[in-house]
Symmetry: C2
Amino acid sequence: MQATLAGLRVLEIGHFVAAPFCTRLLADLGADVIKIEPKGGDPVRDWGEKVEGRSLWWSMHGRNKRSVTLDLKSDSGREIVKKLSGECDVVVENFRPGQLARLGLAPEALRGVNPRLIVAHISGYGQTGPGRDRAAFGVIGEAIGGLRYLSNHAPGTTDLPPVRVGVSIGDSIAGLYAAFGIMAALWQRDRTGGDGEARTVDVALTESILSMMEGMLPEYGRLGKIKEPMGGGIATAAPSNAYPTRDGSWVLIAANSEPIFARLATLIGKPGWIGAPGYDGNAARVRNVVEIDAAIAGWSRQLDADALIAILTEADIPNSKAYTAKDCAEDEQYLARGMVREVIDPHFGKVTHAGFVPNIMETPGEVRWTGPDIGEHNEDVLGGLLGMSEQEIAALREEGVI
Amino acid sequence: MQATLAGLRVLEIGHFVAAPFCTRLLADLGADVIKIEPKGGDPVRDWGEKVEGRSLWWSMHGRNKRSVTLDLKSDSGREIVKKLSGECDVVVENFRPGQLARLGLAPEALRGVNPRLIVAHISGYGQTGPGRDRAAFGVIGEAIGGLRYLSNHAPGTTDLPPVRVGVSIGDSIAGLYAAFGIMAALWQRDRTGGDGEARTVDVALTESILSMMEGMLPEYGRLGKIKEPMGGGIATAAPSNAYPTRDGSWVLIAANSEPIFARLATLIGKPGWIGAPGYDGNAARVRNVVEIDAAIAGWSRQLDADALIAILTEADIPNSKAYTAKDCAEDEQYLARGMVREVIDPHFGKVTHAGFVPNIMETPGEVRWTGPDIGEHNEDVLGGLLGMSEQEIAALREEGVI
């Protein structure tokens, strides 16, 4: 069987996180992704920890893609983008709305060459509406999506600000939504009985986050209820939280069903809680959650994480450490499934990569190569795909186009 | 043009969040989704705030799907699932790994009826590996994915636990990954030149989260670096945080570029910072971030949110409130794009729903109907799709199968 996305060719005119994450998902499943970069490279190549000036993240973020440099401000650069669009099924971009159009590369222009082209735009606020031109910052998009307000302790608990989740999760979720939208559009275009039509996929970072907010909008709209942050807990389940350990880590415990709560109450020396008013039934425990959580924390704090986990697991109480990078890298389930894997990068030697989500069991993803050098595939793509001669490519290089 | 996913038929044997979110994304774009429920209904119908005993969230979570009740423990119930598989392109399920197989509904059994069937499994830890049978709880899956550890203040800042982001984001991201994987498998199966093959999509909640962790694994693997939580800030940019207001809300400010920082320094009465050692350049500010954030917070705390935002916007400094449910519901960009919309639900009248992500511009999503009653489409599906007679359906009802 062929790779899941064998036969699909995608042009990325993107940078930073959202569009490159989208195309990496496609490339991981076998699509031929051609990434257009300025001659200085995507700025994300400078992000995070580096070894000998090279970003370790890039090894993964850029994997399985071909890199072609192009000066989009030059006529020849734009001409090449149009020619490449003619050879591709999809273009993915994440400039500010309208910026590609100002360069003469609007969807309509590209569809002059390829009328069936799927175009995916990823932006902060979407391609339409009065707010589309606001500057897009990931942290601000996540705040507008409603995530930041909820990533906090209950009102009145602390003066510390609500937290960021540590990664640009809004960008990655937007990239994933774009990958889904692209495949939906392609299926309708290409299937037997499909409509053969080009479609335009418009993904906003803010909306990608808001779409994850479950019942928040219906509950506000009908009841005026404002969903409030709950710290480590859940508004409707108790006890369920992260509890401290003697050696300074956090262990999640989910003990909100009756039999599990009874086992936990016994463990922490509160057998009198079992069946008692204030502790019997989830609703009573939710009302009493501050006291219950404090008692569990007082107990958990006397144990190191490993001992605590052993005791909880022995008692069949759902639990887990709050995994650090090290815990993730060493987890036996991730390793068994290839979700954590060693990859050879020509610049670094062995590098740890995340594996493939989703796992397509018959034709799983594959690391064919790690993040390429800037313009590593110029000859390959311009010569092999567009049929340019060595002289033509040399001329482009001399003019500074590639 | 037809709806993006017109012509696609999906069988959901799911519950709670992940599988139903996946199928809602497909249904929103026009797929015919048939949801199999026990006669008591999906337990998620009881979650969140209710009006007259009906969950408001369900109005949205169940929209655009057909509901069919089936007792999967009965022979006739299982027979009907097989027949429905013969009429569908895809089956989506999120039971514990192996549970459907124990009911005689393994992918191979369903493919006996429909050899081209795409099957998507969503689970806590995946369909394979030594840990696949662990009980799956959303909060534990998010912890194992690395998200919980990072959703915290810097080590040593507080004794409070790391926070949950307020929603079961791991479930929703897993559902979105499944929707992407399903469409990728369908494209290869159905396109001209495709391979016509059935594929099995295996999505783990833990892995869905880990896949969002950017450079965390490569940086740990090569350098032993453990990514640490940073509260409201970003490890590599300053100032960028959520700052308090006089009226008790939080405003995000992203002022980590030189010109923006200069404008902010002037505003808060610290013009001496501009170009001075310790404040000049992002790297210096990152080292000095505690002092800088404290000064900004000291200033922001003197202003109400509206005034603060007006001043920041006037000075062209990127900012936003940390949106609450109310802010989201009233945001003019969301309203203009239909991302926040009023929908008529037969039980509630007007209900606020989130719109469609991705926005497919030529053939956007549509709310054809809100979350159906339990078994609302029994006759419709069993009669209309499987061709059962009224008598046959009545007999199933009498036997307690539907």
